[in-house]
């Protein structure tokens, strides 16, 4: 299983801080599409992704145990 972390509006929309999902072998884009549909997530086209706390491209393939995070445009500072 893989842990999918959600933040900001995505967390509010999903009503969860993270989702657990079998994502091994899927790409980041696959997972994005999958959870977007299931949880009615919005603005995913401007959302970055991370695998194991490093930014990742849409076509990266997820490995066993990887932690995925979907990262809306940041607004710290």
């Amino acid at each position: 299983m893989n842990k999918i972390m959600l933040f900001a509006h995505l967390r509010d929309e999903a009503g969860a801080e993270y989702i657990e999902l079998q994502a091994e072998g899927k790409t980041v884009a696959d997972v994005k599409e999958l959870i977007a549909e299931k949880y009615n997530l919005t603005k995913l086209d401007s959302t970055m992704s991370a695998i194991n706390e490093e930014f990742a491209e849409d076509d990266e393939v997820i490995q066993k145990g990887d932690i995925i995070a979907f990262i809306p445009p940041v607004s710290g500072g």
């Binding site: 086209d45 991370a50 809306p72 607004s75």
Partner: protein, 154 residues
């Protein structure tokens, strides 16, 4: 630990103390505070949320970038999370360098990079609603709607 996410109010002096060095002639600090009015709209309070382990890593990355770009620089950054009221401190960046121009430039670089790559988000609360704020960079536009690879890993 020069790079921290804090649930408690930030002690500015404690952040400054981390960069004091005998080789430094200048220390600059940037203190980001919660402003009441933005474009005439009144903010009641803010809530900051962070992807903490990644945010700390990205703050460290910014520190390393600065040390590469400005010789002899020391850097410390603490960012607050949770509910913040008007005038509360959201972030403190302290940079020390041998010469003052570097201290200003490196500090400014740090805040711009925070706004590009550190996974922290703020939700503004007004009298008539609330909203997660997206990218608010004042100096960089992302035509593609997101930072380019070169921005993220510079």
């Amino acid at each position: 630990m020069n790079f921290e996410i804090s649930k408690e109010p930030i002690n500015t002096q404690a952040v400054i103390d981390k960069v004091v060095q005998r080789e430094a002639g200048a220390i600059t600090t940037f203190i980001g505070t919660v402003r009441e009015l933005t474009h005439g709209k009144k903010t009641l309070f803010l809530v900051y949320e962070a992807y903490e382990p990644m945010a700390v890593k990205k703050l460290e990355q910014i520190g390393n970038e600065i040390k590469d770009k400005w010789a002899g620089a020391e850097v410390a950054i603490t960012h607050r999370v949770g509910k913040l009221d008007i005038t509360d401190i959201a972030v403190v960046i302290a940079v020390s360098t041998p010469h003052r121009n570097d201290a200003y430039e490196a500090n400014r670089y740090a805040i711009e990079r925070i706004k590009e790559i550190v996974p922290i988000w703020k939700k503004e609360h007004w009298e008539d609603g609330e909203e997660w704020i997206g990218n608010q960079l004042e100096t960089v536009a992302y035509p593609s709607g997101k930072p380019e690879e070169s921005d993220l890993n510079e």
